[in-house]
Amino acid sequence: MRPILLKGHERSLTQVKFNREGDLIFSCAKDSVASVWYAINGERLGTFEGHQGTIWSIDVDRFTQYAVTGSADFSIKLWDVQTGQNVYTWKTKTPVRRVEFSPSGDKFLAVLDGVMGYPGSVTVYEVPRDNQTQQLSQEPSEEPLYNILTHEGFEIAAVAAWSFLDRYIAVGHKDGRVSKYDGDTGEFIDALELHTQSVSDVQFSPDGTYFITSSRDSDAKLVDIETLEVLKTYETDCPLNSACITPLKQFVILGGGQDAKDVTTTSSREGKFEARLYHKIFQDEIGRVKGHFGPLNCVAVSPQGTSYASGGEDGFVRLHHFDKSYFDFKYDVEKSVEAQKHMQGLESSA
């Protein structure tokens, strides 16, 4: 496996994302320019220029028509992916920590920071589209569709994500809680005390029925969205910044490492700046991928499950296309079950 290094950013990465077909990678960093890359060879397609501050988050809709970025300059920008033009800009009251398109692509959520007297919120904006061309059918509204202010007694939201069919929004809070809201109205449904420290990432499974959370308390957890039941727990030895669920194989990839402010005091060996692969079902650590010189701030896996990208505090994106050993790996129990099935198949056909 030979990684491709994407060195387009001048500062540490904040998020990487694949589009639905997995042929483009979107990355943003603490410099104010976001980049789009071809996944196949790491060629940069272009940059989105216009923000005045750190871009905390980026997402692309399922048609790869528009990308949305949320920035610390109090704005959210909508970009035409093909031309790199800024289509629309929403002004916000506070810095934007996270943006994500809903699976339908006609709205997106934005996590607004709780500073300057603002309590913090998850705010949902609409992107009105033409049904045929998926282009904007009219100028988007400056006003949000709805606004989920931070729930009484909870700390502010750090991350949020959409479930299947835009039905729910899963929100990870700074106090380690995970809460669930109705995706149409923004009504509070349920909450769960999941982690002991801030939730650093929430990413849904390919079918959107369960999600993985990562936390600074070194754990990652798999949670069902309907019942908010904890399905699996993955324990590591370092604070986690990001986690994702791989399609195709039953793995999860966790990224993290020592806190960025402590990096200079340790060697890269001690810092544990590696992506960790865990088996999703058995919860065993099955491998690590080295390479970054700083903590991993974000990991993303392509929807096809054939490659993954990680963005680090060191300012690089490392894009890995999995090789054969990854696809071939199976537990002994899996192999024996397969062999059994194969034998039964032979018997029944005989």
Binding site: M1, R2, R44
Partner: protein, 283 residues
């Protein structure tokens, strides 16, 4: 040999759709003719329509004027990573690390002739004592004659003690070392040199053809044992620059030698001898 020209490759299209390429190359001084038969096949790869469309998009933003294909300044290939999946990955990795360590430790590339340690001989007394303490101990016990300079000896002894304690102490912090930031503005190494300078002469106007042995046996033989003679040479051509530094056994002998040599003719030239002075660098 490489100047021998080879004919340009010839490509012949065969009637069955294949191509025959005849090329020539020179390897190890021999000329080879290479005949290759090639069939060109178009491989069609099926991709999503939208993916194919996106491949033809024009670049924008910072990449607007870039040529097609990855730019080396933003896209580079990393080093090969071996991803070995399995529940035992940690054990395997540790074993490999252990093996690597052992092979490194067992292999001694440099051996000192005096103490057998892992460094160049260069007037050993345990040359800044690193590494194998047992070897250094054995060497010191077996041959007391090597303890020449008491200062160096003391330093080495202290170094051994620290190695046994298991912690590395830089030479400047070892017992006997002087504080480099002290008022005399000369570090420990410079001090050592100064001691030598007291009994070292600088002899100038030497004949270019006079090398160390000539000086030892034809000019300096009356002055007893000469520990060190160095002729200054041009680094590139190796020719003598007519200057030599000679260290004598004692300062008295050095002084006698200076009086004797200064103004004396040697190999058709009149010598100029003086105390060698430590070079003071301009700041």
């Amino acid at each position: 040999m490489s100047a021998v020209s080879v004919p340009a490759p010839v490509v012949v299209e065969n009637p069955d759709g294949t191509k025959t390429i005849v090329s020539y190359k020179i390897d190890n001084g021999k000329k080879y003719r290479v005949t290759q038969k090639v069939r060109e096949i178009k491989v069609t790869e099926k991709v999503n329509k939208s993916v194919a469309a996106r491949k033809n998009w024009h670049k924008f933003g910072a990449e607007q004027n870039s040529a097609p294909g990855p730019d080396y300044s933003t896209t580079q290939l990393g080093e090969e990573i071996v991803l070995r999946l399995g529940t035992q990955w940690r054990k395997i990795e540790e074993e490999e690390e252990q093996k690597a360590k052992e092979s490194k430790g067992g292999e001694k590339l440099i051996t000192c002739r005096i103490c057998g340690g892992n460094h160049y001989t260069m007037h050993c007394p345990f040359k800044d004592t690193m590494g194998d303490a047992s070897a250094a101990n054995g060497g010191a016990g077996g041959d007391p004659a090597i303890s020449g300079d008491p200062a160096v000896d003391g330093g080495a002894g202290a170094g051994e003690g620290e190695i046994i304690a298991g912690k590395y102490v830089p030479p400047s912090r070892r017992a006997g070392a002087r504080d480099p930031s002290s008022s005399n503005n000369l570090d420990a190494y410079r001090d050592q040199r100064e001691r030598d300078d007291a009994k070292t002469l600088k002899i100038m106007q030497l004949n270019e053809n006079a090398d160390e042995n000539t000086l030892r046996y034809e000019l300096l033989f009356p002055f007893g044992r000469i520990p060190k003679v160095v002729v200054v040479r041009n680094r590139e051509t190796g020719r003598s620059r007519g200057i030599a530094y000679v260290t004598f056994e004692t300062e008295e002998i050095a002084e006698t030698a200076m009086n004797f040599l200064n103004g004396r003719g040697f190999m058709n030239l009149i010598l100029n001898a003086d105390w060698s002075k430590p070079k003071v660098k301009e700041e």
